[in-house]
């Protein structure tokens, strides 16, 4: 998987800067807390939320279990409807296919519907290298693109920016990309939205090629579905002559009926809306209406390897609602950039190390970017047990073990840098397996308690830099128990 932020430091280091940036923390806190409250209300309106959540989980699990069958069916349906299906095993292949398709049209620019899959493969950069300009049309993606920034949230990629910052970016950059921002642009939502609307309108009417992802692909009819809030997506899906959709293979669902569940759970989980304002569906091509040419690029890029992992595969259920980001206390403080991946937050912490492997420093640190509080699991509309997968991936990092890479089973060695921890864990396990040893240690600690420093050296500094250690008691409980209740104790 490309899309790794090159040179990305491990999570704790990347988070350090965000934690100490008051503007960023203020922006994030305000945004996540607002949407969190709204989501809770939107979900509470449905009396059958629990059943919908379970249904979503079951549909996704079923589709994943029979992924081969549904993908073949999808290819047949798309082809029958006049589309062309391409299979891409990794990011490079997908980028090559898309660039080739754009070149065939003779165009040198494409309009984009917000899509995580194309970000995952670094499509914009790959197209730029081929002399093709890709314009983002989602408002937040536009802000990120104009600001030469990175997205920091799945749904609200510019969540880390406030209105003042956005005004400055528009005023400075819009003219480089097309229609300039109006003179004296104010930082009100209405003025910013209007500036973006005018800027984008010119591009919509000019574009010959559109590039999108999809939220769902319906196998039985070959229909693709995009849900969005702004309407820019629908412009890109209907105005160009050629439409190229790059979609992860896990997005397939068997039938139209399955959409009933997700079109309820996705908008409520993501934007706290009862229904998203725009739901666009397209099936192949139709004369006199919409694009004349339609290509579907089915993207693997680590997904079948992830599917081979019986604990980790549940991450593929994800419908990219980002509810887990908005509720995560770690995301709220560390910000999306710290995750070093287009998928930030709790889902990113389990998805990225599976799609990319756990070899890099950032990927090995992501499974630890959580206090395991479980809020992400609680809100997930497809019931991905994110804490379970985090712990599973931690095991992969510290103990190694079998994984599937490019379809082949390999045994990973433990990641470097955990030797001291591993030794400490083994020692602790040894001592804790022997109550007598534990007791001797406790007594020693209690009796020397006046000598203990309140701050710690070495790795313990991470604790005592911001928190005081508890005072040790006169005697551990077990000594008190024995004193009061007698008995020699049956410890071995």
């Amino acid at each position: 998987m490309s899309g790794t932020f090159v040179g990305m430091p491990a999570f704790p280091k990347a988070a350090h800067d965000a934690v100490n940036n008051p503007t960023l923390r203020g922006n994030l806190r305000h945004a996540t807390q607002t949407i969190r409250g709204k989501r809770e209300k939107a979900v509470a309106e449905l009396s059958d939320w629990t059943a919908l959540r379970e249904a979503g989980k079951q549909i996704k699990d079923h589709a994943l279990r029979h992924l081969d069958r549904y993908l073949v069916q999808l290819e047949e349906s798309v082809t029958a409807a006049g589309g062309t299906v391409h299979w891409a095993s990794d990011a490079d292949e997908a980028n090559r296919i898309v660039a080739g398709l754009v070149k065939e049209t003779g165009e040198s620019e494409v309009l984009k519907v917000k899509s995580m899959a194309t970000q995952e493969i670094g499509l914009n950069e790959a197209l730029a290298a081929e002399g093709i300009a890709a314009y983002e049309t989602d408002l937040a993606e536009l802000i990120v693109q104009l600001g030469e920034d990175r997205p920091s949230h799945i749904l609200v990629p510019a969540i880390h920016r406030n209105r003042g910052e956005i005004r400055d970016i528009f005023a400075r950059e819009m003219s480089e990309w097309g229609r300039p921002a109006p003179e004296g642009l104010a930082d009100t939502s209405a003025e910013l939205a209007e500036a973006a609307r005018l800027h984008l309108r010119e591009k919509f009417l000019r574009a010959k090629v559109g590039v999108s992802g999809a939220n769902f692909m319906v196998a039985e009819t070959g229909t693709l579905v995009v849900v969005e809030s702004e309407g820019n997506g629908r412009m890109c899906l209907t105005l160009p002559e050629t439409l190229i959709s790059v979609v992860g293979i896990e997005k397939v669902v068997p039938s139209w009926r399955d959409l009933e569940v997700f079109l309820q759970t996705l908008p409520r989980s993501s934007t706290a809306e009862r229904m998203n304002p725009y739901t666009s569906t397209w099936t192949g091509t139709t004369d006199e209406d919409g694009p004349k040419t339609f290509h579907l690029v089915l993207l693997d890029n680590g997904r079948t390897d992830t599917l081979a992992d019986e604990v980790g595969r549940q991450a593929l259920r994800c419908i990219r609602c980002s509810a887990c980001l908005n509720v995560c206390p770690v995301y709220e403080r560390a910000g999306g950039h710290a995750y070093g991946s287009v998928y930030p937050g709790p889902i990113g912490a389990i998805l990225s190390p599976q799609l990319r492997g756990t070899q890099s420093e950032i990927d090995a640190s992501l499974p630890y970017a959580s206090s395991l509080c479980g809020a992400c699991y609680e809100v997930c509309p497809v019931a991905i047990d994110i804490p379970e997968v985090l712990v599973h991936l931690r095991e992969r990092v510290v103990e190694g073990g079998p994984v599937t890479r490019e379809g082949t089973k390999v045994v990973l060695r433990p990641a470097k840098g955990h030797a001291a921890e591993r030794t400490a864990m083994r020692a602790a396990r040894w001592a804790l397996g022997r109550p007598g040893v534990l007791r001797t240690g406790q007594r020693l600690a209690s009796r020397t308690r006046r000598l203990h420093p309140r701050t710690l050296p070495g790795p313990g500094k991470a604790w005592s830099g911001t928190r005081d250690l508890p005072a040790l008691p006169d005697e551990p409980f077990r000594d008190w128990w024995q004193r009061v209740h007698g008995g020699e104790g049956d410890e071995k």
């Binding site: 704790p12 630890y368 509080c373 809020a375 712990v391 128990w481 008995g487 049956d490």
Partner: protein
């Protein structure tokens, strides 16, 4: 009824007062309490840090120590969740790895009999008023594993509401994690500290003298942050509040 107290290694070593409080309350309610001296640690720190195979012998040891009791009571939502939620999962994983059913079978007698302390009082003993007296203003932090893994719900609050002389004030952002998370506090100390500081500021805003929870690990993190930030609020385990009486008031 004869129950075993699973105190947890952290409480045994650092918070013996919580253990004494649990014993006092349970004994007062006519429960016969035993403290098996061979008990050590549930293995949660190992498991959650990725050392599942190191946690397995500790789980087996737990089972050897606690099999045969009518109930196993622990004043820790987190360690209770380890036994109830994660031990069965460890058994399943061992089976999936082709290591047979022995771990699952060993854990079977202890898993369903393990109760978090407030859960045991309310669900098993059917008690919400333990006759406590605690003349202080208190705010309650529901810990993540107690709240989400064990589903303690309002049980601790029902117990607290019955305490005489006490004013219970609501904690803003109560459902948010305090940032302890075991080794998370060390591995991601900046984020952990920021979460802790927010929790403490929320507690401060309530005007409470005491912040209570059903887990001393979280209280250790919150309390360490409180003294560092010089708030004057004290962290107290819920058992110590419930054990406080007019004759023997806790400070």
């Amino acid at each position: 009824m004869r129950v075993a107290l699973f105190l947890t290694c952290v409480n045994d070593t650092l918070y013996p007062g919580t253990g004494r409080a649990v014993v006092k309350i349970l004994t007062g309610l006519g429960v016969e309490v035993d403290f098996p001296m061979a008990q050590t640690c549930c293995g949660q720190a190992h498991y959650n840090t990725g050392y599942r195979h190191q946690a397995e012998p500790l789980a087996r040891h737990f089972s050897e120590v606690f099999t045969g009791y009518e109930a196993i009571v622990t004043p820790s939502g987190s360690c209770g969740a380890m036994v109830r939620e994660l031990y069965p999962r460890m058994g399943e994983r061992a089976r999936a790895e082709g290591r047979g059913n022995t771990l699952a079978a060993a854990l079977e007698p202890v898993v369903p009999k393990t109760y978090e302390f407030t859960e045991f009082l309310v669900d098993v003993l059917g008690v919400t008023d333990v006759g406590a007296y605690y003349p202080h203003t208190v705010t309650y932090h529901p810990t993540c594993h107690g709240m989400r893994s064990l589903g303690l719900g309002d049980r601790p609050l029902r117990l607290l509401r019955a305490v005489k002389g006490m004013e219970l004030v609501e904690l803003p952002g109560a459902d948010e994690c305090c940032g302890f998370g075991g080794t998370f506090a060390l591995k991601n100390s900046d984020v952990s500290a920021a979460m802790g500081a927010d929790k403490v500021r929320n507690a401060e805003a309530t005007g409470a003298e005491v912040l209570c929870a059903a887990d001393n690990s979280c209280l250790m993190h919150i309390g360490g942050t409180m003294t560092r930030l010089r708030t004057g609020i004290r962290p107290v385990h819920i058992a110590e509040i419930l054990a406080s009486t007019e004759e023997e008031p806790a400070v």
